[in-house]
Amino acid sequence: MSLVFAAIMSHGPGMTARADRADPAVRDPFFATLARLRNALESSRPDAIIVIAAEHFANFFMNNMPAYCIGMAEDYEGPIEDPDWLQIPRRTIPGAPDLSRRIVGKVMDRVDVAYAEEWKFDHGVMVPLSFLTPRFDLPVIPVNINCQGPPLTPLHRAYEFGIAMGEACESVPERVAIVGTGGISHWPATPNSGKINEAWDREFLRRWLRNDRVALTAYSDEETLRDAGQGGFEIRTLISVAGACQGRTGEVWFCEPIPIFATSGFAAVMDVGGDGADAAA
């Protein structure tokens, strides 16, 4: 059936690792928005959640870097980071291997993808799950788009990959939720961490909520690096969710710079119809 829930949100490790250092005037409404997102997700009664994230060398390296990879494991371990540093205890998270296998097979009709039966989660998956499924009990299908080791997949391919993911979810009987995490503008893991281009973020989200395929995929990597930092390359994950919801439009629930989190805290949903959308209204 068609997707029951589709959203995007930030995944900076500071959201858990340095939550106590964020300005409460911005942090508290952001976290309240994420609680609302969790409610909407739960109301959509998903059987599994696909998390499209840009991982950070937890599993893939330049010896054999897939542009796109879908997890197919029985379970996953995370976080790979020092749990005391990330402030998320290490645990095992259930996968959905049979569903993954069917989705991978269907996606291959359109897009060549890698798959992986071993996968360790880093903050790109663990931080969003810690807010959306804090009991870590909903089966997860992780998806990675390489946003770290150039050459990177072009943005128009990320949108196309999203279309393939959306079609694959339509082809299965399970109720599937999808969440894209990463971005938007940031200069993470540099001395400039905390630099944020607020205007660029808002313009990107305007393109996203319109699901404007041409505008979303119009950024060159040179422009993104200049205006949105190396962290801006992660817009590929957000663009793929738009692709999965082609023809639908969305709503931005929150977007404010939170420098100690290294990015804007943001959350946005696509209107996919059904119970989740009702809860979101």
């Binding site: 950070h56 060398f57 937890a58 020092d82 770290q148 080791g149 540099t190 001395p191 400039n192 961490s193």
Partner: protein
Amino acid sequence: MSLYALQKLLYELNRNPAVQEAFASDREAVIANYRLTGEEVDAIRSDDIGKLYILGVNGQILMHFAAWRGLAWDEYIQAMKDALAKHGRVRGGLYAAVDDGKGGAV
């Protein structure tokens, strides 16, 4: 090629507890498995996070590595700022500082 090897070593250290244990018990033996320059070996030997940043290690790899080596967030950011002042600009990779490394949240 060498930056690749340096990042490969840190990638393995970040994700593989067996490599972490080997590194803790005999750092030189682990280092010897990778084709590194003398400068890179020195930086690894001395846990010089700032120098590793200047050498071009991907920030996401270095951030995890710095956390594993016990640096608090502010210490990690400061190590990169200090290294910029001492060694000059980042020599490779995607994570070069902008604005001369000024600004940011810390």
